[in-house]
Assembly symmetry: none
DNA sequence: CGATAAGCGAGACGGTACGTCAAGTCTTATA
DNA sequence: TATAAGACTTGACGTACCGTCTCGCTTATCG
């Protein structure tokens, strides 16, 4: 792409801008991400910002992605444990985002297909994949009924987390997550009793 | 409140402005709600708009509320039917909203506690109440297990609808709703088999 | 005109509004005469104000006229004394007006012939007439040269007072007025020496 | 000051805006100087205007100053000629200003000390300086009495011009100026007769 | 005495312009 | 090229005040 011709981009600028953006996101929310201000705080010119990200939305998204990091699906062999852990991870990862930030980005996505795609890919898919992975393993182990609609179940589980983040007064706590996972598993498990016993055992070990 | 003193507000103006706003919301989304333009289209002055709603956000919310209207909890005596019907109603009510509108409003709520409150009260609570009502009746009939966490179950059901509206590629269709309701009910039902049989019967009658 | 039919106007309202206007004029200047505020302070409705004065300009002018009151030409028989007294009266009458008020009214007169006329008639002419009267008497007494252009001399004398009010850092004080009157009289007097001697005598009497 | 950093201001914008403002001033008067309109006519954005002048008042003043240009004191050696010429120059320079413009600016000065200062410095002082210069030279030549109060005489002469511009039905014409100058000089001259003879001679030469 | 004609307070209404803000683009000079 | 600085366009915001109009109510005079 940039094949060495001319002055190379200063990598420190990328970092400084992202940091300033994250800070703005934290303290003021998305609408507080004012490019001129971000640039000033990063000790950088507006030009340098726009050279890297085409607009505010993408900058914010980049900052978000930077912060979210990776969510890895746990794999303990205990279905209930895995799912519970998954949802806790997701909740925590998003918790620090101001409510508005994610919503705003979703909103902006309405006018910008590319953004929507990136948002999905970067922010939404990773947690979904983790949940999917856990359920997939569970099914392979024979823990789930054969007729379970996997994608729908993935949605059912992750939706609650996002819903509470976006619209609830506060995000889910571990007990609530446990209750939901148990309830839902009862609906999809081949042998719910066995799963619950296994889960109880693990909990004992943990405590 | 306004005890007849002074010239009364012209109710037609309220109506005209809301209509113009809804139209803008439909065709351009939230960011297309430009007060000056809305006023112009409603044949009304900007002042008249600002006299009623303090800013764009509140206007948009009012228009939304106006459009959403009431969602009434069905009461057929068949738990599965009720819940299914509920979710279908909600999905349809929100479907016509541009994706972004709701998200945008949620986002704006981050900066405006009053708006957030109204948003909850006006937009979010009504569907929740309908679902709650259905579940409440079901429990009274003894259809649900005694240890069911009702509010959490309400969330679990409504969350999926909103999640798909906000973040999904498209909203839920009736089949998917059915699958989810069945799955979830399996987790909370006192006697899932009975409920399913009843549901099947009703469906026969309908077809 | 208003032949007694209907409820008669409340004279107290006229007074209260004028007073409030004058106060506004004093403290904030013409641009501080905000009708709504004036009405509020007078304990009166906007309607009542507009029923009496067609607009802000006329209201302000009325308040000004109310305050200026009458300026009577002195007639001591001593030309220099009369003129001096005249100019002092004028200066004092206008002194309390905020600089801007008069200027603003003049400015508004550019768009409003009626206002301009009234402004001239009510505010500007009275002092001019007093000066004119003094000079006229002086000429009749034979104190002035026969070829003196009376209107121009009137202008020359009053102009300085207004100039200092409108554009100067501060209005004229009595010493300055004396200096000017003497200088100008030297130019128009039939026998300047005599007039000065007479003036000196009067001053002695006064002290 | 601006040491070459950043994009330099476009001088054409200054010019275009001032021109548009002057035009508005001429055709509509001060109240016709509508920033949005001026910007449009200058083919420039409102922001660009506000970057240069903090508000309407200052813009109008700048336009005025731009138009008034310089008034240079004549120096013919003939006191009467110099003064006459001075006043004619001033009258002409201001004649084209709509009556209201100057008055309005004076009025606005009441609320804005900075404006008042600039107004004095830019608009009022130059003509005063020209008159002062003429009188100063005259005194040096011994044409004036020794006890003459120079500043006051300057005021006496210029005041009439401004008075007629602001409050008169029309500005002074050369004959009137001549009459006034002669009258006033009679009051301050060391030897009025000599000055008048000199003046008469010059007039002959000119015709 | 009741109809008629104002006056009045409260406040909605249309209108016009204001000055502000931030986004994103463009133009210099410098590194 | 990249960068900093900052000018520039664009488009909307929310505010302020003007002068008008519409209510419901009060006060006078006239028939």
């Amino acid at each position: 792409m940039t094949n060495g011709r001319g002055r190379p981009r200063d990598a420190q600028i990328d970092a400084a801008v992202l940091e300033a953006t994250e800070e703005a996101l934290d303290t003021e929310g998305y609408s507080g991400v004012i490019i001129e201000e971000v640039a000033r705080r990063a000790g950088v010119s507006k030009t340098a910002v726009y050279r890297r990200w085409p607009n505010r939305r993408h900058l914010a998204l980049a900052a978000l992605a930077d912060r979210l990091g990776r969510i890895e699906a746990p794999n303990t062999g205990c279905t209930l444990c895995d799912l519970h852990e998954c949802l806790v991870l997701i909740t925590n990862a998003f918790r620090r985002l101001g409510t508005g930030t994610l919503a705003q980005l979703i909103a902006e996505g309405a006018d910008d297909a590319e953004l929507r795609e990136q948002l999905t890919e970067i922010v939404l898919e990773p947690p979904r994949r983790a949940v999917h992975r856990s359920l997939f393993d569970a099914r392979r182990r024979g823990d789930l009924r054969d007729d379970v609609d996997l994608p729908l179940t993935v949605d059912a589980l992750s939706s609650l987390v996002f819903y509470r983040l976006l619209l609830g007064d506060d995000p889910m706590d571990p007990q609530q997550i446990e209750a939901v996972v148990i309830t839902l598993l009862r609906g999809v498990a081949a042998d719910a009793g066995a799963l619950l016993r296994e889960f109880a055992e693990h909990e004992v070990h943990l405590s």
